[in-house]
Amino acid sequence: MNHDFQNANMFGFSALKKPPIKERLPHFRIPEVREHTLPNGLHILVIERHTLPKVSFRLGINLGSKYDPAEKKGLSELLSASLKKGTSRRDYQTISDTIESVGGELDSDVNEDGFFVFGEFFTDYLDLGLELLSEISLSPVFPDQEVEKERSKLIANLANENSSPQFLARRRMIELLFQPHPYGCYKTEQSLHNISRLDLQDFHRRYFVPHNSFLVFAGDIKLEEAVRKTEKYFGEWKGGPVDRPEFKLPGVADQPVVNVVDRPGSEQVNLLLGNRLFARNHPDYHRMLVMNKILGGGGSGRLFLYLREEKGYTYGAYSSLNALKETGAWLANAEVRPEVTIDALKAFFEKFQEIKTEPVSSAELKNAKRYLVGSFPLKNETPASIASLLLQQKLYGLPKDYWQKYAHLVDEVSSAEVRQVAEKYIREQQMAVVVVGDAKRLAGQLEKFGQVEVYDVQNRPVR
């Protein structure tokens, strides 16, 4: 094409100079959830979505890793790893062949507060999927040989975890914030060795009961069908309420601390800063959510714009809420080159100070809320992600209409409240600072951020 013509077009371009933003958010409702409880107490939730010929399901059990006895930390994880390894009717090989031969998926996972057995099958094979879900959930046999294999995998994986700087930072942080609560305990080689097959059986018998369990279906299925099938595969499941241990919450720190994890040869320094926060159902949750979005949420948060876009210290700087069932943490993180460690820490504290002392403008507040409300449907587009939301509501004991009210709860937050929660929950005087890097390359100025303790990658104190 002729060069002059290009230029003519370039200057003749009649585009708007201002972004054409629509003020209104499109109307979005959480898809209708239909519910039913079986006589044995198992609660069923169904979200219908017939666009693709498949169904996701998710069995949520009120059993978290917090219930692992301290000397047997890792018990629930080993239970999860062993669940599929044999039932009273089928061995492991047959189970995995059966699932995969029909393009299905069946797995389990556990976190601090919940245990999940989940899968996805083509509609035509849903019965097969549910039969297997029921078998591995209700009648696992934990064959010795399979359990030993899973135990050695978990032990070997401890070394993999120790090689990851993100993991090293996180383990140090949860110990600082939560110990001696079980949220602050991490499994070790010894604790994994302490678990017996009998422990797995007892633990399974005790917590795998229909009371306080939830089965969510999402996809190409109707409630009536879900109820019929659940009755067929879970109708015989028995067991009453569970007597659960209760834990005392630790007090919060009375002074700032710095923990260095010496990772020899580290090319970067991983910074993780944190304060104890509240549990997921706390009334300040939504205020904190808005505050956090403004301070450190994604590529438009103040931390990102300052530490990355202005200073070039890092690929990303963020903050996040980690509110669990019993308590929580507020965290901020970045990976930086060793030379700028101190400057980057100072930059974090500058931004903390700013949001605690200067009012957030009405535009910034409006935009943060629009992000939280507007991005909700697009982050929860698939039936499986809506299923996870519903289980969150059940396991964290949130009100029944919680997700319907979510947008309103966010929208109510005021600029004054943002400042209040920042002041209340970002506490420099109690801040835990974790610095993972090559200790030889870390300047001796960390003391100004708190009393310094050094650990090695195996989590042993160094001096």
Partner: protein
């Protein structure tokens, strides 16, 4: 024992009934629009047909560094504003660079489509470049390299050495993230030239999927993009890779690896080659799931391996079929290698059973639906099919090509590529006692 009777599953799809259009503006911009009214959101995905393969020696990492500059401001959009404007209306946004293409995407509430088009058109038309922003993003990308590659176990091998050892042609031999030295060599003038050459409408595909109407969407696309002038034809990069004459084998001492590891790779043809379908089925058979051959043998039966991954590495041109295994404390490379070779040899010597073939095909079917589940995944697939096959609608038809593959074809394809001379091997050993398992 009850094993399901394996029958073809019902492939009726709502999404297929939704309307879709594939068109080209006068300036060469290809536009695909598909309606999906399930959720009130829309995804916009633009693929520019430029990636690290277009870089010259000494300028590795440039295409990706450039991607960062696309967020640093254009005629009417200030530095860092693009992301902020999208977030502020409740949208999400990012970009990514591979060997073959660079993409930019947004997912927003459906009524903000015009905003996204305005933003994308503004930076296709013009960039606002300053030395300060360029230096800033160079620093950021260096930290990205450290975070993703230099500071993690095994990533130097998986992201870089695999290609450096296996390829002779520079196009695919060097990494997307590039070297620190080459990043230092990049200039602001390079950025300007790159935009003029590659970031033109005739070198791009834009796909829009979501709760929109096709006619109004086309009007908006024309309003913002039609007047952007095309550029000259883009030079075609020679991707050809001479056949490998003998096995390549090397070792690497990884500063963070806790366990020994083993990587093998075989050259395979490009994404459009008819053998591709059999190759992807071989990937399912060998690597996908707990009943796959290598997982069952290496992890469960012999317990030589802790983790494994592998398959086609996803390039559009001449690719690699690779496997990476992390070896358990009781395993060793020789034993692992013996098993891997025996399993590959079996695929060349024997036809797999109908049952195993059906299983692999059912896994492909499950993937096929997964790739359509979100509007963004679908938009990305349309761009891929338009870029590689010149046929976005192939998204709905390509499944049939996988389902047509026979057991004999699988055997033939395995025989063609799993040969000793075509093989690359990297043995990875822990360098540092601190991270070695049991230290």
């Amino acid at each position: 024992m009850k094993t399901a009777i394996i029958a073809p599953v019902n492939t009726q799809r709502e999404s297929e009934k939704n309307e879709m259009i594939d068109m080209q503006l006068n300036n060469g911009l290809r536009v695909i629009v598909a309606e999906d009214h399930t959720t009130p959101i829309v995804a916009v995905d633009i693929w520019y047909k430029v990636g690290s393969r277009d870089e010259k020696p000494g300028k590795s990492g440039f295409a990706h560094l450039f991607e960062h500059m696309m967020f640093e401001g254009s005629e009417n959009v200030a530095k860092s504003e693009h992301m902020k404007i999208i977030n502020d209306v409740g949208g999400i946004v990012n970009g990514s660079t591979t060997q073959d293409r660079t993409n930019y995407w947004e997912v927003v509430p459906a009524n903000q489509l015009e905003l996204v088009l305005w933003l994308e058109a503004d930076r296709m038309r013009s960039l606002n470049l300053t030395m300060e922003n360029f230096e800033n993003q160079r620093d950021t990308v260096k930290e990205e390299r450290r975070m993703r590659v230099d500071n993690q176990p095994y990533m130097r091998v998986l992201y870089e050495m695999k290609d450096e050892v296996a390829y002779t042609n520079f196009a695919y031999r060097h990494s997307v993230i590039g070297s620190m030295e080459d990043l230092d060599n990049a200039s602001l003038e390079d950025v300007r030239r790159f935009h003029d050459l590659y970031y033109r409408p005739n070198n791009a595909v834009m796909s829009i999927v979501g709760d929109v109407e096709i006619p109004q969407t086309i009007d908006l696309v024309k309003k913002y993009f039609e007047e952007i002038p095309p550029g000259p034809p883009v030079p075609v990069v020679d991707l050809s890779e001479p056949p490998q004459q003998s096995e390549k084998r090397t070792q690497y001492r990884d500063p963070f690896a806790p366990f020994t590891a083993y990587l093998f790779a075989y050259h395979i043809p490009d994404r459009r080659h008819t053998d591709y379908y059999a190759i992807e089925l071989l990937e399912k058979i060998l690597f996908d799931g707990e009943s796959s051959r290598l997982y069952r043998k290496l992890v469960e039966e012999q317990q030589l391996v802790l983790h494994l991954l592998g398959g086609s590495d996803g390039k559009f041109g001449p690719s690699l079929f690779f496997g990476f295994v992390q070896i358990s404390p009781q395993g060793n490379i020789a034993a692992v290698e013996q098993t891997v070779r025996a399993e590959l040899a079996d695929l060349t010597e024997n036809r797999i059973t109908d049952k195993e073939l059906e299983k692999a095909k059912n896994k492909i079917k499950a993937d096929f639906y997964l790739k359509q589940e979100s509007v963004r995944a679908r938009a990305d697939q349309f761009c891929m099919y338009a870029t590689v096959f010149d046929k976005p609608g192939l998204l709905y038809q390509e499944l049939d090509r996988y389902l047509a593959v026979t057991a004999e074809e699988l055997r033939e394809v395995a025989t063609r590529y799993f040969t000793p001379d075509n093989r690359t091997v990297i043995e990875i050993f822990p360098r540092n006692e601190h991270f070695r398992s049991g230290a």
